[in-house]
């Protein structure tokens, strides 16, 4: 992350308010941040702290109520459908529930073919496309020939997660946003998926944003960690600073609540 870090995604005063009057909720409250190219960032916070709302704004799925988002240092403008499509070539997401991200009427081959098309490879010869899909599948330990003609829901949760990574492999976005990508899977498959993501990140130099409850994961993978409480970033820094030496009471409490195996886990603090 040496000398000249290039800004990838940043924001000023970013705010999202849902509802009004009695039901008014400030889900994201005036946050500023700078994410740099090639960095791995984790955003950690309790349920309802606003993580998903923030990620939806970053993805351009919902509009910000106030504030600005900058992409590669430029103010992001995705008001036109064309600009939005262009933006989505650069930012892709993996969601908690892999099943929710596929069109159930689309077979797996077409899921992957769409990725090739999105990258402008629609006119490539068929053999070339198949070769690319095969390569993407083998990157995530799936056998392309066993997947063709199947529908996504015929896969297990783990295979589905890996198919999502195969998509990312083909799309090669600048930014990958992963909202709780591993919460549904066991530790062992989690390690496999993290390995794949980190490998992919090295290969295509992506910026990766993890949104997670999993403080162990945040500690393990990130270059910087942001702690979110009630829509605000209350603390940020390197994993060593934030997770091993937290300053804010909120961060301290979160860290304290993670089950430990090398240290004593204090259950008496439960309110």
């Amino acid at each position: 992350m040496a000398e000249k870090r290039k800004l990838c995604l940043s924001a000023k005063g970013l705010t999202k308010v849902f509802g009004f009057g009695k039901t008014r909720t400030v889900a994201v409250d005036n946050v500023d941040f700078s994410f740099y190219e090639g960095e791995v960032i984790s955003i950690v916070g309790e349920s309802g702290s606003g993580k998903t709302t923030l990620s939806k704004m970053l993805l351009g799925l919902i509009n910000e109520t106030e504030g600005e988002i900058f992409f590669l240092g430029q103010k992001r403008d995705i008001r036109s459908q064309r600009n939005k499509q262009e933006y989505w070539k650069n930012i892709q997401a993996i969601f908690q529930d892999p099943f929710s991200s596929y069109n159930i009427f689309n077979k797996i081959d077409s899921v992957l073919l769409d990725c090739i098309k999105m990258r402008g490879g629609g006119n490539l010869p068929k053999e070339k496309k198949i070769e690319m899909m095969r390569e993407a599948c083998s990157f995530v330990n799936l056998k392309f020939d066993e997947l063709t003609n199947k529908y996504p829901f015929e896969l297990s949760g783990g295979q589905m997660q890996r198919l999502m990574i195969a998509r990312i492999f083909l799309l090669k976005p600048k930014i990958l946003l992963a909202d709780e990508p591993t919460s549904m899977i066991d530790a062992c498959s989690r390690a496999t998926i993290l390995d794949m993501l980190m490998e992919l990140r090295k290969e295509i130099g992506m910026t990766v944003i993890f949104i997670t409850h999993d403080i162990g994961l945040a500690y393990y993978v990130s270059d910087s960690v942001y702690i979110m409480e009630h829509g605000k970033f209350v603390e940020s820094g390197t994993p060593d600073e934030v997770i091993l030496h937290p300053k804010q009471p909120y961060t301290k409490r979160l860290i304290n609540d993670v089950p430990k195996i090398y240290e004593e886990w204090d259950l008496s603090t439960v309110g």
């Binding site: 349920s47 549904m184 993290l194 409850h213 609540d257 089950p259 886990w265 439960v270 309110g271």
Partner: protein, 335 residues
């Protein structure tokens, strides 16, 4: 040795699919849980943890079928019992089960007290509304839950509160054994800790006598249960104290699993995770020899043919591998 509350001997159960294929999801499983003890079950998705839970309660409804083996709860044999009878007399009273994702399955149009009434009336149809309410209030307060939760709808509760409510309802009849299937995986760390504290309280306060806790989160099991059992492809591959299973696993799969733990503790940022390559075998056609052989970096040719039996390695400690303890330790030392 304490009194055995739950004993399972050589239990085998299967699913029969729509295409009439057998899926052996629980294959010759034996286990014992003593009074005052808890057992954790860990293992990859699809290895049969939830199926084992249903099977050891005698809860056999298609497509799940009992094949062979014994289940004994506090001296009472329940294997071979009619599943409808099990539902009436065993469930909730002898064994309570909190299914995976139960908290999201609560009917949104009912108040919490209505669920309590359903559970109590299933066993005691003549219980009055007032008696049930009083009992529930007492029990909720005893477990540190505000009594006003009883008058709320599930949607009004936070995830953590909902899950603790589900647990409190599950144990309302004072079952001997509680089986909790992934009760905290969907929660944030703070709510998760509250759930864990509550489960431990249930044991400490004597509301339940034994507990089985299913989760893929090993650091959690380590902090909650006395013993840990690791399953792989329908079989038990390792069982030991929580400490042994986490810090000194014998079976290569258990070893791999422990190597994939990430905890935010000093110095653990740079450890290499041991992701296990490959995928588990298809349970419709499990391999003849060791089920893990195909993914095991220590496997010898005979591993794929010899079907391995469970071996003893000290009191309460077992594993399933053709290698001896010392051979395994040697292999791990050399990486």
């Amino acid at each position: 040795m304490g009194k055995v509350i739950l004993e399972v001997k050589d239990l085998t159960t299967k699913y029969i699919t729509r295409f009439k294929e057998d899926v052996y999801a629980v294959d010759h499983v034996s286990l014992k849980v003593e009074e005052g003890k808890s057992l954790g079950i860990a293992g990859e998705s699809g290895c049969g943890k939830s199926t084992l839970a249903l099977s050891l309660m005698g809860y056999y409804f298609p497509p799940l079928y009992y094949t062979s083996g014994d289940i004994i709860i506090d001296g009472k044999h329940i294997s071979g019992m009619d599943p409808d009878e099990v539902r009436k007399t065993i469930l909730g009273k002898e064994i309570a089960y909190i299914p995976q994702a139960a908290m999201n399955a609560l009917n949104p149009t009912q108040k919490i007290i209505n669920f309590v009434e359903d559970v109590v009336r299933a066993h005691n149809p003549s219980a009055t509304k007032k008696d049930i309410y009083d009992m529930a209030r007492q029990r909720f307060e005893f477990l540190g839950l505000p009594a006003n939760v009883l008058d709320k709808y599930a949607v009004e509760l936070s995830g953590g509160m909902k899950q603790r409510t589900v647990i409190a309802i599950s144990v309302i009849l004072g079952p001997k054994v509680l089986i909790a299937d992934e009760p905290s995986s969907a929660l944030d760390v703070t709510s998760q800790k509250m759930v864990i504290k509550m489960l431990r309280d249930l044991m400490d306060k004597g509301i339940i006598k034994a507990m089985i806790f299913i989760t893929h989160e090993l650091p959690l099991l380590y902090n909650v249960t006395n013993d840990i059992m690791v399953m792989y492809a329908g079989q038990i591959v390792e069982r030991g104290s929580a400490k042994e299973a986490v810090f000194d696993p014998l079976h290569p799969y258990a070893k791999g699993l422990m190597g994939s733990i990430i905890v935010p503790e000093e110095g653990l940022r740079n450890v290499k995770l041991t992701a296990i390559p490959g995928v588990p075998p298809n349970l419709k056609h499990p391999p003849a020899g060791c089920r893990f052989a195909e993914r095991c970096k220590f496997a010898k040719p005979e591993c794929r043919v010899i079907s391995v039996q469970i071996k003893e390695a000290g009191p309460g400690r077992t594993y399933r591998c053709i290698f001896s303890e010392s051979e395994l330790r040697e292999a791990y030392k050399n990486g």
